[in-house]
Symmetry: C2
Subunit: 210 residues, 2 copies
Amino acid sequence: MSGARTPGTRPADREVSRVRILRAAAEIAAESGYEGTTISKVTKRSGLPASSVYWFFRDKDHLIAEVIRHGFEQWISSQPRWERDPRDERPLAEGLRAILSRSVRSLPQTPDFLRIGQMLLLEAREVEPEARQYFLATRDEVASSIAAWFTSYFDAGLRARRPELARDLAHIVLAATDGLLFAHQIDDALDPDEFVEVVVAIVEQAVTSD
Amino acid sequence: MSGARTPGTRPADREVSRVRILRAAAEIAAESGYEGTTISKVTKRSGLPASSVYWFFRDKDHLIAEVIRHGFEQWISSQPRWERDPRDERPLAEGLRAILSRSVRSLPQTPDFLRIGQMLLLEAREVEPEARQYFLATRDEVASSIAAWFTSYFDAGLRARRPELARDLAHIVLAATDGLLFAHQIDDALDPDEFVEVVVAIVEQAVTSD
DNA sequence: CAGTGAATGGAGCGATCGCTACAGAGACGC
DNA sequence: GCGTCTCTGTAGCGATCGCTCCATTCACTG
């Protein structure tokens, strides 16, 4: 009576099932938030039973943390790196424009994990989910690499005079990106190219204002 | 055995109980999101039974929609209005600075409904909660009044040449505010006064760039 | 072809979910 | 006092929650 509809219920590769679950969970969490992500929904969308979910992930909290870790890994590999080629002699504004406009182009298919992370950041829970802490740490790493990128453009004098500048600029870039993501979530009212110019203008002003 | 601990279980004023429930729900939703807001938590924090919750509100969805409506009402009355005194002869930048810096000062005690609304916007649910639609409509009204404020500064020529400018600027102000709110949710890395100057600079550039 | 371990299918645990039913308590008009 | 209406207290409905248990299946090893 083997009701197997597939040729045979052969165990898929470890990674295949794991990723199926992660993807399903990511979609659901992006739709319905942390609490709205139920194991039952995950099993239905992934096609794998609850026992498999708990085979791969300790508990629901850990599952969502892994959703963010995995999503970030995928995403970062497709993003322009905030790293400056030493031979690059273009001025800051131009380099910034280059990175941002590439970054912004990937916005329409904003990865789920970013939206999930933003939701988690907005929540001020009594007990912090592991997922939230992980997203915070990740975000901080990104801020650091952006700050380092800015610093590479500053001469010794500027670094000494305004030691916080690079970090401030990194935070502005992040905040602006958050705002753009948000606007984009609602409608496409904000033109991404215009956004890039706005950020470039802010940075130029901040750097030269001294 | 009347277990009444209060002098007498007299029915409170309609509005008092309603607001107790709304406030409790707002706190919980800001902590745990839409799905994380359970009737049981609301009854515990408000001190009123589930039957009272359902006496005042049709269902959970309607309750949260009312949380946003009520929160917005309270908040908007404490905010600087985007209305221009006809006798006001100050330049745009100065007027903008005045409104924004007042607005930004209320940021530390960001009202819960704003965070709840943002969470709802991030969620892309199959069935939209009433609460989300209501927040969207509210946000749109605010955008309109900001756009009208900008328009009041434009002469006929500018209005004709760039009919979308006011609305674009309004969207930029909103997006920037979202970003600031976000940054502030994480830590106080972004200086609100600096933020005001950034927005003013963007607007000035956009208006004069033509 | 028996033995092993990774992964699945399915049943089901106690707790909680959103929500309802209904009996009463208190304020009010008469 | 007596009914009426508003709101509260309590119990509990069926459904679903996160999670566990365990037998079974499959690919692989020797």
